[in-house]
Amino acid sequence: MIRLSQVSKCFDGKRTVTALHPTDLHIDKGEMVAIIGPSGSGKSTLLNLIGGLDRPTSGEIELDGERLGGLSGDGVTRVRRDKIGFIFQFFNLLPSLSCFDNVALPLHLRGWPRAKIQQRSQELLELVGLGARMEHLPDEMSGGERQRTAIARALSVYPPVLLADEPTGNLDSATGADILRLISDLHQRLNTTVLIVTHDMQVAHAAQRILTLRDGRIADDRRL
């Protein structure tokens, strides 16, 4: 499903910082993988590279049979919108759009017909338990509700891959557990490949496999 061959990432500044040393990785379809490690170990960099938000300095990334290296900016965006759903720590909802419109946004960007968008967005919001909050603005919702909205948005086209960067990092423990349950549930029901970057070992243990990163290298790869 996801294959990384000698993928590295360096950041050029006054001095060059290697965030990720050349790395090989293979993740199968339907796997739920947690990526853990201390701050600055390269977890988010790895996730951003897999999600096509960033380009590697070297190496090749293959996602569902598609090589990202040869694609243009819009090509990567197309892969992202058809195959990947993102869940961010700070939700990244558009504050001016209602809960419903935030979920509908990726579908609009894909040019779906209005009726189909209406149907799918409603279905997704029911799925994450927000059927009654559709017209609310992000500012009018709790942290947990916002993250549920973000999850619904990430699932808009039922993508084969779900990438979550500290999805519970900005939530209290009860809400965090709730969100984790939702992600696990979706993973099982939809057979989605899930990658979660987290500091929280409780979250990590909900996965089937834990990758530990240290100083830009995979220090440990453990299946539970």
């Binding site: 951003n48 999600g51 938000l53 960033d54 900016g73 819009d74 965006t77 197309r78 992202r80 919108r81 058809d82 993102f86 961010f88 700070f90 939700f91 990244n92 909802l93 558009l94 504050p95 001016s96 759009l97 419109d101 946004l105 990726p106 609009h108 960007l109 894909r110 209005r114 500012d139 948005r153 808009s156 900005n170």
Partner: protein, 850 residues
């Protein structure tokens, strides 16, 4: 100071473009202020410098407007014991016929007496004929040139040059060169001196001089000398120090000053909004930084001070840059104003560089800094009130609260109500202007609510154009008024100014066309120069019958336009045979019976005033004009007023019989020629030229060409308006660029999210473009609305204070519509760069951007 260095400076360096745009807001406001005032002062100073240079050591001048001073007066003045020297002067401008040299200021002087008043600083040489004034006098083709002019044209002593005179082109011999100081420095160095009697002949002055320059006798104080001369020449002549001519300049330029100040106020107000906008955004972005500062122990006052210091520093820097730009603007504006002064006074000057008083410069910098502080005050206050706990939370956005909006709306309605009450009751002009200010403030306060409503109504349209991008663009406007309201207000103000000026220009233009249709109906016009307003040359009145004898001519009307002193300030007299002209032109007074008015005027029993003169000088029907004349103060009753564009500063018509009797001036500036039915104007035109080709230099215009000439002059007159329109549009465009740049920065995360969830590059571009277009459109709609209000006030100002024109209120719909593509196009262009910048930004950084 430490906070500024540690926090502000790195922010400024990081956001260079935004900082530049912030400075540009103030810079433009200050530049308009400096440019307008600078041009005015430059021309005033050039005027004063020319007056002083030409005056030389003269302490007093005897003059009578353009009617001139008869030779007998010179003798009377010279007989006064308290007068040391009295010398006649004629001042005229000639076309040099030299490429790139333009005009030459020619002074006609009496060399025998004049050198005690003016130092000609002639360059030495044994054979220098000017050493002996009698030799100079004996040869009427003698000319002394400034060395600068001579060198620029490769002319030496003994060279012969051809100049246009009333008798056609004449050759002159250069018999001396003046060093380029003092007198020779006047009029940009384009100066020549000739004998006074030759000048009388060449310029058609008859037995008159333009003025008499006087030096007091030794040991006699100026006042005594002035009183004695006054007693001899009578009240019909001004006896004043040369410098007093510059005081008149201030009186005349008043109406221009109102326009200048109005534009400056608008430009500075727009500066306030640009600063407000930039600081609001900066504070939103630096909320986290402010939170940290507060958490580390900075007090509210510390934060307030820091941001006020920032806005003061921005204001100061912007003002200094604006000063530079303004001086450049003044340089390009001053020739226009210079022309106006020449038209008014016949005193020719050529601004050399830009001169501006240090006080005005200091005032400009102080104003710019103050404007910046005003614009920065509200954002600084809200920065100081930031709750450190909330500020340190990520992902919160600023939304203008409904309560805040309601207070603004109520304040706006109260201000508007007061302003309307002032319009209805109209107590004084000053209060009326105050009411104008209140109305502008009311509209500014109301603009966030109005733009919210307009944006709401634009949403379906934008959604129709691009379902996703359009909605996002409209929502950005609706949900983040703090980001856009200041720009919308700035665009609104700029366009309101533009619409107001355009409406007034159009109304004046329409009225001018009516006047041209009514008054300029002769088939041909005969004038001594190519310019209808130039009055250096005149024709003898006897030419009237000579032209009338040309085959095909039915009637000839002689017109003498001349400035006479009306209570010490020149006013244009239009001297005609009133009955004769009334046979062809329908006089339509606004306040009198036309038949009675024409009857009395033709009998020399009164004057017909232009409404402009009536308003500017505060004169009405039934008042008495006190005109300086050779007979002393001539009292002429005002018979009525009518719309008349003969002169920008207003004019009055008197009958030739009255003028000839009092001023004994038998000359004309132009002839209005009516042809017999069926005659070809072009054929008669050629006949007139042929008839006088041997002894007169004249120009014969057809009706169409004179209209074209007048319209061209009018275009020049509107030049200032066009400049203001241009400034208004530049400000509008700059406001949009500013907002789009800060908006993109502000929405960086939002645009990042859009890309992250699948937005293609074109979709991001479209969103940014549509938002810019939407901001432009909202500002445009508000500008249209506010323009309707400013137009009303401008028309009242023109009518009641500046020009005395009773203009119809006609909204310039065409102009307003023409603004649509301009503003939408400008908004689109303004968004191009920010859109690309948004696409270039790193997606990962954008998603983490706070």
């Amino acid at each position: 100071m430490t906070l500024l260095r540690l926090l502000t400076w790195p922010y400024v360096r990081k956001h260079r473009l935004r900082s530049v745009l912030t400075l540009a807001g103030i810079m433009l406001g200050v530049a308009v202020f400096v440019g307008m005032h600078g041009a005015n002062q430059t021309v005033a100073q050039a005027f004063a410098a020319t007056v002083n240079r030409i005056a030389g050591k003269a302490q007093l001048q005897v003059s009578a407007g353009e009617t001139g001073v008869p030779e007998e007066v010179l003798e009377a003045v010279q007989s006064v014991r308290e007068v040391g020297a009295a010398a006649p002067v004629i001042e005229a401008v000639l076309n040099t016929n030299l490429k790139g040299q333009g005009n030459l200021l020619v002074l006609g002087v009496d060399m025998t007496g004049d050198r005690s008043l003016r130092d000609y600083d002639i360059e030495g040489g044994e054979e220098d004929v000017v050493e002996d004034p009698l030799v100079f006098l004996a040869q009427p083709d003698s000319l002394i040139l400034s060395r600068k002019f001579a060198e620029a044209n490769g002319i030496q002593r003994g060279s012969r040059i051809t100049l246009d005179t009333m008798q056609g082109p004449r050759q002159f011999t250069v018999r001396g060169l003046m060093k380029s100081d003092g007198l020779a420095g006047a009029f940009g160095g384009n100066v020549a001196v000739m004998d006074i009697y030759a000048a009388q002949f060449i310029f058609g002055r008859g037995r008159r001089f333009d003025r008499i320059d006087i030096g007091a006798a030794e040991g006699v104080d100026l006042e005594t000398s002035q009183n004695k001369v006054r007693a001899v020449v009578g009240e019909g002549y001004d006896v004043l120090p040369p410098a007093s001519r510059t005081q008149q300049f201030d009186a005349i330029s008043r109406s221009l000053s109102i326009t200048i100040n109005l534009t400056s106020v608008f430009a500075l107000m727009i500066g306030v909004f640009i600063i407000y906008n930039s600081f609001s955004i900066a504070i939103t972005q630096r909320r986290n930084e402010i939170g940290i500062l507060r958490a580390l122990g900075a007090s509210e006052r510390d934060v307030l001070r820091m941001f006020l210091a920032e806005s003061a520093a921005a204001g100061l820097a912007g003002s200094i840059l604006g000063l530079g730009l303004g001086l450049l603007m003044a340089r390009s504006l001053s020739p226009f104003m210079s022309n106006m002064v020449r038209e008014l006074y016949g005193t020719h000057q050529m601004p050399d560089g830009v001169s501006m008083s240090p006080w005005t410069m200091a005032a400009a910098v102080a104003l710019g800094t103050a404007v910046s502080l005003v614009g920065g005050w509200l954002p600084a206050r809200s920065a100081a009130r930031v709750d450190p706990v909330k500020a340190l939370q990520k992902g919160r956005y600023q939304v203008l609260s409904e309560g805040e909006n309601r207070i603004r709306r109520i304040a706006a309605l109260v201000l508007a109500a007061v302003s309307i009450a002032i319009v209805v009751t109209r107590p004084t002009l000053t209060i009326f202007y105050f009411g104008y200010g209140l109305m502008v403030l009311a509209l500014v306060l109301l603009s966030p609510s109005l733009s919210h409503w307009i944006a709401l109504s634009l949403r379906p349209l934008l959604r129709l154009i691009r379902p996703v991008e359009g909605t996002l663009a409209a929502d950005s406007l609706i949900q983040a008024p703090r980001r856009t309201s200041a720009t919308v207000a700035a665009v609104m103000l700029s366009l309101a100014l533009a619409v107001g000026f355009a409406g007034v220009s159009r109304a004046i233009y329409t009225q001018l066309l009516d006047w041209v249709d009514d008054t300029l109906n002769p088939d041909l016009f005969v004038a001594p120069t190519e310019s209808v307003t130039q009055r250096s040359y005149r024709f003898p009145l006897s030419m009237t019958s000579e032209i009338a004898q040309v085959p095909g001519v039915e009637e000839v009307q002689a017109v003498r336009t001349v400035r006479v002193q009306l209570k010490g300030v020149p006013a244009m007299a239009v001297v005609v045979d009133v009955r004769q002209v009334a046979g062809r032109v329908k006089y339509k007074p606004v306040d009198a019976d036309p038949v009675e008015m024409v009857q009395l005027a033709s009998e020399g029993k009164g004057a017909i005033l232009s409404t402009t003169l009536a308003v500017i000088r505060g004169i009405k029907k039934g008042d008495v004009l006190e005109l300086a004349s050779p007979e002393g103060i001539l009292k002429v009753p005002v018979l009525g007023t009518r719309v008349d564009f003969s002169d920008q500063q207003g004019a009055f018509i008197i009958d030739r019989s009255l003028y000839s009797r009092v001023w004994k001036d038998e000359t004309a500036n132009a002839f209005r020629v009516y042809l017999r039915k069926g005659e070809d104007p072009e054929a008669v035109r050629r006949r007139i030229i042929e008839r006088f080709s041997s002894n007169r230099k004249l120009f014969v215009f057809t009706n169409a060409s004179i209209r074209e000439l007048i319209m061209r002059n009018t275009e020049q007159w509107f030049g200032m308006t066009y400049i203001q329109l241009l400034v208004a549009l530049i400000v509008a465009v700059m406001g949009i660029v500013n907002t789009m740049t800060v908006s993109i920065a502000d929405r960086r995360r939002e645009l990042g999210v859009l890309q992250a969830v699948g937005g293609l590059r074109n979709q991001i571009r479209n969103t940014v473009w549509l938002e810019a277009v939407a901001i432009g459109t909202v500002g445009l709609v508000l500008g249209w609305l506010m323009g309707a209000v400013t137009l009303y006030y401008n028309i009242e100002m023109i009518g009641g204070d500046m020009a005395g024109l009773d203009l119809d209120y006609v909204y310039p719909f065409r102009f307003a519509l023409a603004l649509f593509p301009v503003i939408v196009g400008a908004a689109f262009l303004a968004a191009l760069w920010p859109a690309e910048a948004a696409l270039r930004a790193s997606l990962v950084e954008s998603l983490e951007y706070e």
